[in-house]
């Protein structure tokens, strides 16, 4: 989770930021499954919520990558300091 947070805050490439967000999703999933396994071993609610999170992360990655492709088509760059369409 900490490594993903560091990556989101420091990567210049927008795809690098998306990859770090996926790392944070995975950290949360590991946490959920571990809590399910060690504290409530007769229930599967942690794994079900982790399954929902996998699906949500997939949907978010799809939309994010479509946005990245649209930005690249217009601005011809993937570095966040060059995204200047909203700068005054």
């Amino acid at each position: 989770m900490g490594i993903g947070l560091f990556g989101v805050l420091t990567r210049r490439n927008i795809i690098g930021i998306l990859m770090s967000i996926e790392l944070m999703f995975n950290a949360v999933n590991i946490n959920l499954v571990a809590f399910n396994r060690y504290l409530y071993p007769d229930q599967v609610i942690g794994q079900t919520v982790a399954l929902f999170l996998i699906t949500l992360a997939a949907a978010e990655a799809v939309v994010g990558l479509a946005l990245v492709l649209a930005i690249y088509k217009n601005l011809n760059t993937v570095y966040t300091e060059n995204f200047d369409l909203l700068k005054g």
Binding site: M1, G2, I3, G4, L5, F6, G7, L9, T10, R11, R12, N13, I15, G16, L18, M19, S20, E22, L23, N26, N29, I30, N31, V33, A34, F35, N36, R37, Y38, L39, P41, D42, Q43, V44, I45, Q47, T48, A50, L51, F52, I54, T55, L56, A57, A58, A59, E60, A61, V62, V63, L65, A66, L67, V68, L69, A70, Y72, V78, T80, E81
Partner: protein, 162 residues
């Protein structure tokens, strides 16, 4: 004993690949290390006894998301990008923020470290399916609606303006 060896090996692989994702200059190498991190996370799921989650992690994350990221990296890269610096100027503040978050998470989660149940995990596919179709039917249908919306959004954003 074997479980400890496997867990520490997989955990080291996940942490090493995650560091490779956020530090390397070559974006293609970062994407490949992301695939490795996701596969090793699936291994940790299998170690916790969640067989269905392990399989769906490999199928969806490694076979879907990591592949998609690889496609976008290959479609939008230039050869001079492979050696340019990928960490921006706020890395020290980011290190402080990330370190504080990890320390706080460790403090808040280590309260539970003496309540472990030492039982063997059961196969989880049937109970997950039963939960999805009885108690969690509404979130199940809503997630399928969300996937439809995400698909339509992706198609809309990448259409050509003809």
């Amino acid at each position: 004993m074997l479980e400890c060896i496997v867990f520490y090996g997989l955990a080291a692989a996940v942490l090493g690949s995650a560091l490779g994702v956020v530090i390397l200059r070559n974006v293609l190498h970062s994407a490949l290390f992301l695939g490795l991190a996701l596969a090793c996370t699936g291994g940790i799921f299998a170690l916790c006894g969640s067989d269905f989650l392990f399989v769906s992690q490999i199928l969806v994350y490694v076979g879907g998301i990591a592949l998609l990221i690889l496609f976008v990296v290959l479609l939008s890269g230039r050869s001079k990008d492979l050696q340019s610096r990928q960490i921006n100027d706020q890395w020290l503040a980011a290190l402080v923020v990330a370190g504080t978050t990890v320390a706080l998470l460790y403090r808040s989660l280590s309260v539970f470290s003496n309540a472990f149940a030492r039982t063997e995990p059961a196969a989880a596919t049937l109970p997950i399916g039963r939960l999805l179709l009885t108690d969690y039917l509404v979130p199940f249908e809503l997630v399928s609606l969300l996937l439809l919306a995400a698909l339509m959004g992706a198609v809309w954003f990448t259409r050509s303006k003809t």
